[in-house]
């Protein structure tokens, strides 16, 4: 079973991440599923009618504006990093938290590595599916990289200049 980091702890993963070309065929009714955006776009109705938990995942070139109206339906929003150097979803996560007020899980998936976790958390990610060949316990250390930050972000709306003692 895959283990992920959630709220700064390593936990067993219970959600199933469906591939980008997933269809409704043979979809389990009660499993917790994270579906690709395309499937949600086509079959929102059927997906909402299932008993299991529902999440959605967006690729790096997919815009969160597409799901802005639907956020209440998702327990998890996963944002994919095809490469850790692709920074687009840092903005997506901040928008989800700060503009759209999304409170449930925002999960980083894909090329997710220790050295980016601290920044990701600042942008609003609270779950990290660390790349399968890496140890999530080691990655956890990355969340401790800095003790002070300058900017306003999803983790603290006040920039340092409002916090300086």
């Amino acid at each position: 079973m895959q283990r992920i980091i959630k709220n700064d702890q390593v936990v067993d993963e219970s959600w199933h991440l469906l591939p980008k070309d997933a269809t409704l065929d043979g979809l389990s009714n009660c499993d917790d599923l994270i579906v690709p955006l395309a499937l949600w776009r086509e079959h929102a109705h059927a997906l909402k009618a299932r008993d299991g938990g529902l999440g959605v995942w967006l690729d790096a070139d997919e815009q969160i504006e597409e799901i802005a109206e639907d956020l209440a339906h998702f327990k998890v929003i996963a944002l994919n990093f095809p490469a850790f150097t692709d920074g687009r979803h840092y903005s997506s996560a901040r928008l989800l938290r700060e503009r759209y007020g999304y409170k449930d899980e925002i999960r980083a998936i894909g090329d997710v590595l220790r050295d980016q976790l601290f920044l990701m958390r600042r942008c609003g990610f609270d779950a990290f599916a660390v790349r399968a060949d890496r140890d999530p316990y080691d990655a956890l250390e990355g969340l401790k990289d800095f003790s002070v930050t300058y900017q306003a972000a999803a983790d603290d709306p006040r920039p340092l200049f409002l916090r300086r003692g």
């Binding site: 901040r94 980016q116 942008c123 800095f146 340092l160």
Partner: protein, 552 residues
């Protein structure tokens, strides 16, 4: 200058710890080369042709004497006894060992220095006028704003992995010595009719493969909205900038593709959400930062025109130096002095550990313990009493730092090129040297007058060749090193990009080519006309005819 408090200090110490661990994991094989690369680049560490190169940040070019001494010590202990001033006012070491870099960073942290974001696809060191705070034509001191931007951009969580590098420059004077229009964002501090402070905002300027002058998208941004507006620009760029082709990934390509008008609308739409939010600047913060940039304890002095003129008459060398390397200061009785790092035979911008120590000492004795680096790769003592200029000149001569060529042809901007840089198409330092040797007659140099000659070893344009009055670009021609020449570039206000003269030249032809170009100028100029103005008047053809005629 700005002095760190516990918060700023914490951040750079955390960084040292983080980078030490990243280096350890890389050396232990836990991080692949590909994974380590962006991490080390964001810390200014390149793997160069012969050794790593470490670029140390010098925020907007300001250095204290204590920091200079630390740089000298690092040059001695970890390098081959010299350092290099870059075209972004930073300091580079060309020969450190990878294993030593964490220790070097720890040393730097003891004097409030670091190498954060000096490379990589992130927000780079913000640059400004080397005469900030002392220039006579200054309207607003840009340094507090540079520091505010520095803090905002340092480890900005959203913008650590942009499509490409991102450079911001700030100007607050009548002349634009910061070249803001060739930056990703250029900010010009201005006052509106009501006397309120704000910024004119240019976006999408840049050199490199597709050089372009920026477009002004906001004529007056009130100061308190500076950071939220920057956030909005960066967010639009981060989300929509191209990531499929690294040569099309700079913001200038996005601005051009959308048109500046549409880009401005997108920024406005994004900003509408951020404006007046918690990141809005406060008077208290601006005042806190500005306190670090108030005037030093200037004495009430008079200008020394007569005394200096008498010295000029007696010492022609002093007169020469003064006319090129000394500029007026906003305070009577003071002057700003440029130490030329362009003597013939030394790579432009290089300085030895001994010179660094000596400059620190001069800074303490003559200049309130501070110096500045310029993007022309020189060092400036900005607050020297006029009555001490003569003794200072004598000291500088002994140190080899008094070459009277500032702004002249031999004061070239030159990137490290093929001698060090693994991206180079061609060497640049030997070209600079061969031209310097050809123009070693000071009288002739003075007669030629103001001339920016800029050399880059490849399209990346670190030597700013597009905006040189004469630009030289290293190109690869079937595996051989060739040089393309362009004329008419300018980095100042109303910036312009150079026009290519024609087919490129072999290395040994370069001094002749430059000599012919200069000869055309000297023949065709009218009275006091500078090279750039003559070029703008007569155009490319006369130069072309002369240079290529000789080939037949």
């Amino acid at each position: 200058m700005y002095v760190y408090d516990q918060y700023d200090q914490h951040i750079i110490e955390d960084r040292v710890r983080q980078f030490r661990d990243q280096t350890r994991r890389y050396l232990a094989g836990e991080l692949s080369g590909e994974e380590f690369r962006p991490l080390r680049l964001q810390n200014g560490l390149y793997i160069q042709r012969y050794a790593p190169m470490l670029r140390v940040a010098v925020p907007y070019g300001l250095l204290s004497s204590r920091q200079l001494r630390k740089l000298a010590e690092i040059a001695r202990n970890y390098d081959k006894g010299y350092a290099h001033i870059s075209t972004r006012q930073n300091v580079q070491f060309n020969w450190p060992e990878l294993e030593d870099v964490p220790d070097i960073l720890a040393e730097l942290a003891t004097v409030q220095m670091h190498a954060i974001q000096t490379s990589g696809n992130c927000i780079r060191n913000t640059t400004t006028d080397q005469f900030a705070g002392v220039a006579r034509d200054e309207l607003i001191d840009p340094r507090p704003w540079c520091e505010i931007i520095r803090q905002w951009s340092t480890f900005h969580p959203e913008f650590a992995f942009l499509p490409r590098k991102f450079k911001i420059a700030v100007n607050g004077a009548v002349s634009d010595r910061a070249a803001i229009e060739v930056h990703d964002i250029g900010l010009e501090a201005v006052q509106n009719a009501a006397g309120e402070l704000g910024f004119r905002v240019s976006v999408g300027g840049g050199l490199g493969r597709t050089p372009i002058v920026g477009s002004f998208i906001n004529e007056f941004l009130p100061w308190k909205h500076l950071l939220t507006y920057l956030d909005a620009i960066l967010r639009v760029y981060n989300r929509y900038g191209r990531r499929d082709n690294k040569f099309k990934a700079r913001i200038k390509i996005l601005v051009k593709a959308l048109t500046p008008e549409v880009f401005a609308e997108r920024v406005e739409a994004e900003w509408a959400h951020l404006k007046d939010g918690p990141a809005t600047l406060t008077e208290a913060e601006v005042e806190r930062v500005s306190r670090f940039f108030i005037d030093p304890a200037y004495k009430a002095l008079e200008d020394q025109d007569a005394a200096l003129a008498a010295l000029d008459a007696e010492h022609p060398g002093f007169a020469r130096w003064r006319s090129r390397n000394v500029v007026a200061h906003k305070k009577p009785g003071y002057a700003a002095v440029t130490l030329s790092l362009k003597p013939t035979g030394v790579a432009p911008g290089d300085i030895t550990d001994k010179q660094l120590d000596a400059v620190a000492e001069l800074a303490d004795r003559y200049c309130f313990g501070e110096v500045r680096n310029s993007h022309e790769q020189n060092i400036i003592l900005a607050d020297v009493e006029q009555s001490q200029l003569f003794t200072l000149w004598n000291e500088l001569r002994e140190l080899g730092l008094a070459v009277p060529n500032v702004g002249l042809l031999t004061d070239m901007i030159c990137c490290p090129g093929g001698d060090f840089c693994s991206l180079a198409n061609a060497k640049s330092i030997p070209i600079a040297e061969s031209i310097q040797r050809r123009f070693d007659d000071l009288d002739y140099l003075f007669d030629i007058g103001e001339l920016d000659l800029n050399i880059s070893g490849c399209m990346n344009a670190c030597g700013h060749h597009h905006v040189g009055h004469i630009g030289i670009l290293g190109v690869d021609k079937k595996g051989a090193e060739f040089y393309q020449v362009s004329l008419g570039g300018s980095a100042g206000r109303n910036a312009s990009l150079g026009q290519i003269l024609g087919p490129s030249f072999a290395q040994d032809a370069m001094p002749d080519v430059i000599e012919k170009i200069i000869a055309v100028y000297v023949e065709r100029r009218s009275e006091d006309e500078q090279f750039l103005d003559t070029f703008r008047r007569i155009g490319l053809d006369p130069f072309k005819e002369r240079v290529y005629a000789a080939n037949h």
